[in-house]
Symmetry: none
Subunit: 145 residues, 4 copies
Amino acid sequence: MTALTLDAAQTILSAALAAAAEKGFKPLAVALVDARGALKAFAAQDGTSLKRGEIALGKANGALALGLGSRAIARMAVERPHFIAAATQAVGGSLVPVPGGVLVREATGELVGAVGVSGDTSDNDETAAVAGIRAAGLTPDTGEG
Amino acid sequence: MTALTLDAAQTILSAALAAAAEKGFKPLAVALVDARGALKAFAAQDGTSLKRGEIALGKANGALALGLGSRAIARMAVERPHFIAAATQAVGGSLVPVPGGVLVREATGELVGAVGVSGDTSDNDETAAVAGIRAAGLTPDTGEG
Amino acid sequence: MTALTLDAAQTILSAALAAAAEKGFKPLAVALVDARGALKAFAAQDGTSLKRGEIALGKANGALALGLGSRAIARMAVERPHFIAAATQAVGGSLVPVPGGVLVREATGELVGAVGVSGDTSDNDETAAVAGIRAAGLTPDTGEG
Amino acid sequence: MTALTLDAAQTILSAALAAAAEKGFKPLAVALVDARGALKAFAAQDGTSLKRGEIALGKANGALALGLGSRAIARMAVERPHFIAAATQAVGGSLVPVPGGVLVREATGELVGAVGVSGDTSDNDETAAVAGIRAAGLTPDTGEG
């Protein structure tokens, strides 16, 4: 089992923020938790709202909690809202069921952490997360289809 | 009052996990609470996600909280979502209203505990719980219509 | 990095409970969390009090939170009680600073989880935990001086 | 009012971690909150324990909560433990009253945020925080005498 290093985590963060800047996104908060759910790295761009970070963390934590990219969790939230509402409470409250929470996997498929991004549209948040993960040579799992 | 023994609890757990393995389910978390709501036994199979156990516990706790198998609670969640949402908060947050939370009864009907399973589909989670309870010579109450 | 398997976890549990029975301990609750802090296995012997399990979990979670066997945390609680009190709140409340919370390490020293035991004296709780861990061929780290 | 920029925050983080590495400290978690108490940047070095980040955040949040470097809060914890215990609950639980929580000020004295460090001794945690803040051309306020 591989642990996500701080170097890799900070590469993911920088690349996510660089992609966002290049595409002219609104200010983003980016959170990276390791496979234990412990916060590994975090950055909130200048101009982010007071609790933007908590939303980003909710996307990362929720994805890790259920073992699904948040795009899949978003589908569940539409199909079985009562389940997602209850699951959010059962896991302690930090689960945000919209795109932008992306699992980080090794090429083998092994799960090493999750990225959560918030600040622009959910789709754009996810785009930044994916760019960051790929820049670190890791595999993003968005929960797509 | 008959108390659920650890021997019976561990039989339920083993049999539930064995049924799941035989049927090729995804990795499961199985929680067994006694009639007081105290955790009696628990096992998380290798490969379960970070908070899979909390979801399983939510099914067991929710069933015990309302005295109903969670298949019945799932029907309530669809028919009266505002009630289930409020009940979840009133009981402290651990109530997951989908199948997989099964009350454990003696042949007399006496309630001795609840099993909660999560990790595959809700229907399959329930199947594993039922198999476990029956293997211990006890009676499963799923909340089926 | 090695993950603690359910087989190993259940061996630890069984051996801990067997050692306790052999030594005539009071009924114990034994909790095993993996390196992520996720509950892996749990058993409460017949006759344990209502919240005995939460105490056992607090010893395991506290040891993992600080990366120290709880015998070391107990010394900190005596020398710097304000720190331990605050740390308990900072980590979410599940930190019990007395012996009985033992880190589980591979022979390499790699941390794979933590055991928490409660029900007899703290020293005896720790004895049961150590017996369990050794029976699984793993290395106990009690936080001893 | 001057806001702490992400550039400055990341300079503080990098310099704190570099100072720690140079001095051979144990792995550290470093948290930086802005004047609003919103998390601005965070990094956990490889090898930090599961909840090390929460301890670091508790030092930063506590310093900002009371407007005092945590060395001063540590003195209060010894002289008036009942006050610090109560204050910790009143502020929501994230207040760790030992050195390592350092306020970040402009040269004018204006408060722009707080750094919290945990992982080595409290004195060394504080040393790393101070090094980071100075590297960004800002003024550290440790709560010293």
